[in-house]
């Protein structure tokens, strides 16, 4: 059933750690979609799974099959490139669709189009700090 008998110990352990890390990140992202209250907050949650969640499991697959075949097998990179390009496109379209639908319904939580004028920019942005945290 499992090919692990043929794997060297370091490859098996590295694969195990990477697989667990990727799956855990994906699960955390999924829990995030349950916990966040609004659509625009929920948009952030699946990117956990599609960025490093996918990346870790793809790396695990690369390590596992490279060690099995005793030559570098990197075709998993294709999936990684594809997911990193396509997921932002989907999320952007969805965010624009959500914005459009909310504006049609006059939702007060959604910024009006006037926010896109140059002069209102300073009012919308928080004031400066030293090292801004990301995320």
């Amino acid at each position: 059933m499992t090919p692990a008998e043929n794997l060297p110990a370091w490859a098996a352990l590295l694969t195990a750690v990477l697989v667990l890390l990727g799956a855990a990140l994906t699960l955390v992202g999924a829990i995030g979609t349950l916990r966040f209250g609004s659509f625009f907050e929920r948009v952030h949650a699946p990117t956990l799974g599609t960025s490093w969640g996918t990346g870790a499991i793809l790396l695990a697959s690369v390590v596992c099959f490279s060690a099995l075949g005793s030559r570098p097998i990197v075709h998993e990179i294709m999936i990684g490139v594809f997911i990193t390009i396509t997921t932002p496109v989907t999320l952007m379209l969805l965010a624009r669709a959500a914005l459009y639908r909310d504006r049609v319904e006059d939702d007060a939580n959604v910024p009006p189009r006037t926010m896109l004028r140059r002069r209102s920019v300073n009012a919308a942005a928080p004031e400066s700090g030293d090292e801004p945290p990301r995320g």
Partner: protein, 161 residues
């Protein structure tokens, strides 16, 4: 570029993809090259606007910054989700005036912003150049405008403009 190879980068990428999906042998190299050259001529027949790369040497630097930033914000967002919501966590929209006008650069910036957990590209007005992003955690004192402008936009403008 030339008449024989209208899109050298696209041709190279297609050939690499063909070799990754099949195997690295001389026969596959020839078939893949034929497919890639044919496809790049088909692309030229569609007459898309041609993106210009001014300083492609900076692309690996951008890639490194983005990968590390995404890792960092993965940790931050995971902490928000697992650790439960703080009372003072405020999510909201931020408007950012952009100076970048190159279409390819904007597309790249949108992919970077959206694939980073915690920030999402929402709307862009081409006439004023103002970008609207949604931020999951508007930490007190964090300056999102200068973060996006200095960290990504400056580098993208160097590459594309």
């Amino acid at each position: 570029m030339s008449r024989a190879l209208p899109y050298p980068l696209l041709t190279a990428a297609l050939l690499l993809m063909w070799l990754l999906l099949t195997s690295f042998s001389t026969g596959q190299l020839l078939v893949g090259a034929a497919v890639a050259i044919g496809a790049s001529h088909a692309m030229a027949a569609l007459q898309p606007s041609k993106p210009r790369l001014r300083r492609w040497q900076l692309l690996p630097k951008l890639l490194g910054i983005v990968v590390l930033d995404i890792l960092q914000s993965n940790i931050d967002v995971a902490r928000i989700i697992i650790g439960g919501d703080r009372r003072d966590r405020v999510a909201g929209f931020v408007a950012i005036p952009l100076d970048l006008r190159d279409k390819t650069g904007l597309a790249l910036l949108s992919c970077i912003v959206t694939s980073t957990p915690g920030t999402a590209w929402v709307e862009y007005a081409p006439d004023t150049g103002v970008l609207l992003i949604h931020v999951l955690d508007l930490v007190e004192g964090a300056d999102w405008v200068s973060l996006i402008k200095n960290r990504y936009e400056a580098l993208l403008m160097e590459i594309f403009e």
